[in-house]
């Protein structure tokens, strides 16, 4: 089956699960580069479209966060549509915090019908962090059960109820991993569960502590997981020593003290933060089993091109346009 005939049937093409650009990047053996856009706390799509246009030639796909830190924002699916209108491929984040299995599956159908092909399945930050701490969380299903549900819709064409879906979404399925959370020795096992549930790619929590990350990757390789899932290492550029100091206090983050000192001692702290980020990317690229980087520069999106450039990841590969809308 050629890609052209695949387009007619709505199928992703030979050997591809979803046919997404990100999947094709991995299939072609490229080191992937993704970024992140945080939708605004308003109806204005301006910032989303501007950031997408700016990132277009520097990254392979862009994550749209789903009410991150439990703050109400423009929906990740709607934001993905704005991103696509700028010619950029979205990775839609979806958390288990705010929706039950009915709403989640409904959104999956809707997102796919709008052209979304990559999904990142998350538990979601607890609502106590956000601006509606009195809200009730859902957690009808957890992130691993969500991964399995998305996989079953794609590979078996069935909903969680077991009922058949006539035209089912064929998503490239992402999940998160945090090598810096506890219990450390369980972290690779948890990744194995996500892979068993059907994850195609993994985005990790921001890497500052390379020693711990390498230790985790060692466990991942020992289990052979790097051959079954594409691991995208997360990085977050630090704008200042104070900002990085704050990051070090966030649960599930680990920041070596010497990095904070290094930025504090620099004449231009932001430039030093970018330099550290680019160095981290270069280091991550050399680690066996790391298949890409995810640059999370929320509220500092414009710095992403500099980091990609400094890390020597340009130009980004291009493929023939995909026209597989259902």
């Amino acid at each position: 089956m050629t890609e052209a005939s695949a387009a007619v049937t709505g199928q992703p093409g030979p050997q591809l699960k979803s046919g997404s650009h990100l999947e094709r990047i991995f299939e072609a053996g490229h080191f992937a580069v993704t970024a992140e856009i945080g939708p605004p706390k308003s109806v204005s799509s301006k910032s989303i479209r501007e950031h997408a246009a700016m990132l277009r030639d520097y990254v392979d796909a862009v994550n749209l966060t789903d009410n991150q830190t439990a703050i109400v924002r423009l929906s990740s699916i709607a934001a993905a549509v704005h991103v696509m209108s700028e010619g950029v491929e979205p990775v839609v984040q979806i958390t288990c915090r705010d929706r039950n299995r009915i709403a989640i599956q409904s959104d999956l159908l809707g997102a796919y019908s709008l052209g979304v092909r990559n999904l990142l399945c998350l538990s979601g930050d607890h609502q106590v962090f956000g601006n509606h701490p009195g809200s009730k969380n859902v957690y009808d299903i957890d992130s691993i059960q969500l991964i399995a549900a998305v996989r079953d819709l794609r590979d078996r064409g069935v909903f969680m109820s077991g009922e058949k879906c006539r035209y089912s979404p064929r998503m490239f399925i992402g999940a998160a991993a945090n090598p810096f959370a506890d219990p450390f020795e369980y972290r690779a096992l948890r990744l194995a569960k996500k892979v068993a549930a059907g994850a195609d790619f993994i985005q990790t929590q921001a890497v500052y502590d390379l020693e711990r990350f390498e230790a985790w990757m060692g466990m991942v390789r020992d289990m052979g997981l790097h051959e079954r899932v594409k691991i995208i290492a997360g990085v977050v550029p630090a704008k200042s020593a104070a900002a990085l100091r704050y990051v070090s206090t966030v649960p599930g983050m680990r920041v070596p003290e010497r990095l904070i000192d290094r930025i504090a001692g620099a004449a231009d702290q932001a430039a030093e933060g970018v330099k550290i980020c680019a160095e981290t990317v270069a280091h991550l690229r050399e680690i066996e089993g790391v298949a890409g980087v995810h640059i999370m520069a929320i509220a500092w999106e414009k710095i992403v091109p500099d980091i990609v450039q400094q890390a020597g990841l340009l130009p980004r590969p291009r493929f023939e346009a995909r026209t597989d809308a259902v």
Partner: protein, 222 residues
């Protein structure tokens, strides 16, 4: 047991406006054990309400104090019916179950004096903690006897989220990560294999959202 704690005095007092004769009923079960609604607490609250009314200069408040074996059982509630009829108001010092059984059987206006908190127990003198999420389909045999529904802030079923750190939950350093506890228990007992299996979505029909749940035991029915 059901753990409850007293509502603020001012909140209860405000509900007594215009009432002269009040029946206050305690319960000898859970709320006696957690020292929120037993005989002693009934006496203390009654005295506090009377004094507060007196200081406010209103008409004297007359209280009748009773403590029954348990309010979640018509056998002990129904006999209060005549007594309740002689009062303007009934204050239940039981859990929410007791308040409802009283309202159901006494035909009187019943108000709660406690906030019913959770199913739990005392972990040290003066501190009670939740243990059971009352989900109706126990999984404790899979989790080393530690409940993921009640003890994980997200009720996750497949291990700790990325916010677990130093044994604490991302929600607060005062909250232990339930899945760290489960991990430690399973490791200590050589059952980490239980953490490698993917747990399927839970059927919450046993938990809530289906109206009040019932247990019917045909073998016990008359």
């Amino acid at each position: 047991m059901i753990v409850a704690e007293a509502k603020p005095l001012a909140e209860i007092y405000a509900l007594l406006e215009g009432k002269k004769k009040v029946l206050m009923v305690g319960c000898k079960e859970c709320v006696t054990v957690c020292q929120a609604g037993g005989e002693k607490e009934v006496g203390l609250l009654a005295a506090a309400l009377r004094v507060k009314r007196e200081l406010a200069g209103g008409p004297a408040l007359e209280t009748t104090e009773k403590t029954v074996q348990r309010q979640c059982d018509p056998e002990y509630v129904v006999p209060l019916k005549a007594l309740a009829a002689e009062h303007d108001l009934v204050i239940s010092m039981a859990c929410g179950v007791g308040v409802q059984f009283m309202a159901e059987h006494l035909g009187a206006w019943v108000i709660p004096a406690l906030n019913t908190k959770f199913g739990g127990g005392s972990v040290e003198q003066g501190i009670w903690e939740e243990r059971c999420g009352f989900c109706g389909d126990c999984v404790l045999h899979l989790t080393g006897g530690i409940c993921p529904v009640a003890r994980c802030s997200k009720s996750l079923f497949n291990g700790p989220c990325g916010g677990s750190h130093d044994g604490k939950c991302e929600v607060s350093d005062d909250v232990a990560c339930g899945w760290q506890l489960i991990f430690d228990r399973l490791k200590a007992t050589g059952r980490l294999d239980l953490l490698t299996e993917v747990r399927p979505p839970k059927d919450w029909q046993t938990s809530r959202d289906g109206g009040p749940r019932r247990v019917v035991r045909e073998d016990l029915r008359l």
